[in-house]
Amino acid sequence: MNARALRIGMKRGWTEHNHLLRTRKELLGTLIGTVGVFAALTLWMGDSTVEETGVPTITFMMVGFLAFTVFGTALMTFPMALVTDREEGTLLRLRTIPGGIPAYLAGRAVTALCQIAVQSVLIVAAGVLLGGAPLPHDWFTLAWVLLLGTVATVPLGAAIGCVLPSRNAVGVATLPLMALMFTSGVFIPVTLMPEVLQWTAQAFPLYWQGLGLRAAFLPDTMLAAEIGGSWRLPYVAAALAAWTVAGMLLAPPLIRRVTRRESGSRLAARQLAAQRS
């Protein structure tokens, strides 16, 4: 990847991020969809605490929303954007330009990072200001878990975006992610799940990301709800790193395949099909 393409790509990502902030529909979707729901939850839950620990329930929920924001942005919003770009011809446009595809990918990654950053800040702000949740006691863990969690999921999101045939298929792809959301311990403690689901959850990055984030925000009195009664941070790092490697191996050939197949006649055929349906 040449330096110019990377530089233009990063600037492109920033520009697209600003376009999203200026688009009312997107903005409302983000704000109400995640941050708004969380803020409402904050007010509704009030001062309730997790049994026998004194930890406000809202803190646990805040961490869950944070984990899910990263996961959802990387694995739902991001692939959706890729599919849309393919259908509208953005990908093809960049394919006609020297260095366009690397710049495009860099741009999309930057936009995803910006979205994750904005939503994370808003969720923590809502939790702290509205719900009285504490700031993290371990900033370092927060930083590396967020970063590694993002790096682990964005390439996977790219891979998903490449294999989805159309925008209609995105809804179907969302279902397993929703199932993961409920079984991965981000909103419901994982130890309440049957053992099979616990093992399944641990195979995916969402569980590990949630665990790492809980380690940064929650006191050790909450450990009773965790598998093995430990934050298992080395495992968090190893699992997220493994997913990063898997994503990096999986995404590039899929991206190459998708961009190689992009052409004017394919674009025309897709648009014709879309008009008919």
Binding site: R4, A5, G89, R93, T96, I97, G264, L267
Partner: protein
């Protein structure tokens, strides 16, 4: 190097269906060349192979001295591509998008000058998604030429235009090509467009180039028969012949002087074209 595009024996099959059956083409630098043919003749397939977007089944292809199957960024920088169905970057500003894409090239056009050249200065701050169809296409052309390409591909650029927009577009294209000495390869199924814009036209029919040349050469090459009419015995006589001049000469000799009501009608290019693709279909 005076050849921009050279194609020999180009073949393309999709499964068992053979779309191109040995296409030969030679496009000179600086000319506006149209690839004309009915829908489904293989125009888009041909142009996509030349653009490096599609792998050919067989044949030799050289575009600006490079095999498009081995496209590099440096080669891509010398091409401009305008497709039919772009609806991309709808949220971007018109000027913003031109500036962004110009950043990929070493010596791009000045975005302001380019906007003026395609007549979009008033829309510079507008969102791309809010442009009309004609404005959108002009923006596509601006984006196609922003990097000062040596060769510009236009795939059916005026489909869906009203006659006035089409005229404006033709004038714009002719001016841009003349100013920059750019080679333009345009596909169309509209003969009038080809006749008006192109220095040379190739007619693609049945997966082969049926005829190639200037509009006049084209008309001659297809040689649809002419009609010769005259008055004789108080009635109009009609004769259909590939050589009307010879027929007129013979008539003059038979009449020993002027032939009453003599009229020779050579087929229009359109008639020739329809005859040609009819012949090959």
């Amino acid at each position: 190097m005076s050849t921009a595009v050279s194609v020999r024996g180009l073949r393309m099959s999709y499964g068992a269906a053979e779309v191109l059956r040995g296409v030969d083409l030679e496009i000179r630098r600086g000319e506006i060349f149209t690839l004309l043919g009915p829908n489904g003749a293989g125009k888009t397939t041909t142009i996509e192979i030349l653009e490096g977007f599609r792998k050919r089944s067989a044949g030799e292809v050289s575009v600006l001295g490079t095999d498009p199957g081995k496209a590099t960024d440096a080669w891509r920088a010398k091409l401009g591509i305008v497709l039919q169905n772009w609806r991309d970057h709808a949220r971007w500003g018109v000027r913003e998008l031109i500036v962004h894409l110009s950043g990929f090239y070493d010596d791009p056009h000045d975005p302001g000058e380019l906007l003026a050249a395609v007549g979009l200065d008033e829309q510079a701050g507008q969102q791309v998604g809010r442009l009309s169809g004609g404005q959108r296409r002009r923006l596509d052309v601006a984006l196609g030429i922003v990097g000062r390409p040596e060769l510009l591909f236009l795939d059916e650029p005026t489909t869906g235009f009203d006659p006035e927009a089409r005229n404006d577009f033709h004038r714009l294209l002719a001016r841009l090509a003349a100013d920059d000495g750019m080679t333009v390869l345009l596909t169309t199924h509209d003969l009038v467009e080809a006749e008006k814009l192109a220095h040379r036209t190739a007619i693609l029919s049945g997966g082969r180039i049926a005829v190639c040349g200037t509009p006049a050469e084209l008309a001659q090459a297809v040689q649809a028969p002419s009609q010769v009419r005259w008055l004789e015995d108080g009635r109009e006589q009609v004769m259909t012949t590939p050589d009307p001049s010879q027929a007129a000469w013979e008539l003059h000799r038979r009449f020993g002087g002027p032939v009453p009501g003599l009229e020779i009608r050579r087929p229009s290019l359109e008639e020739s074209y329809l005859g040609l693709i009819g012949r090959n279909v």
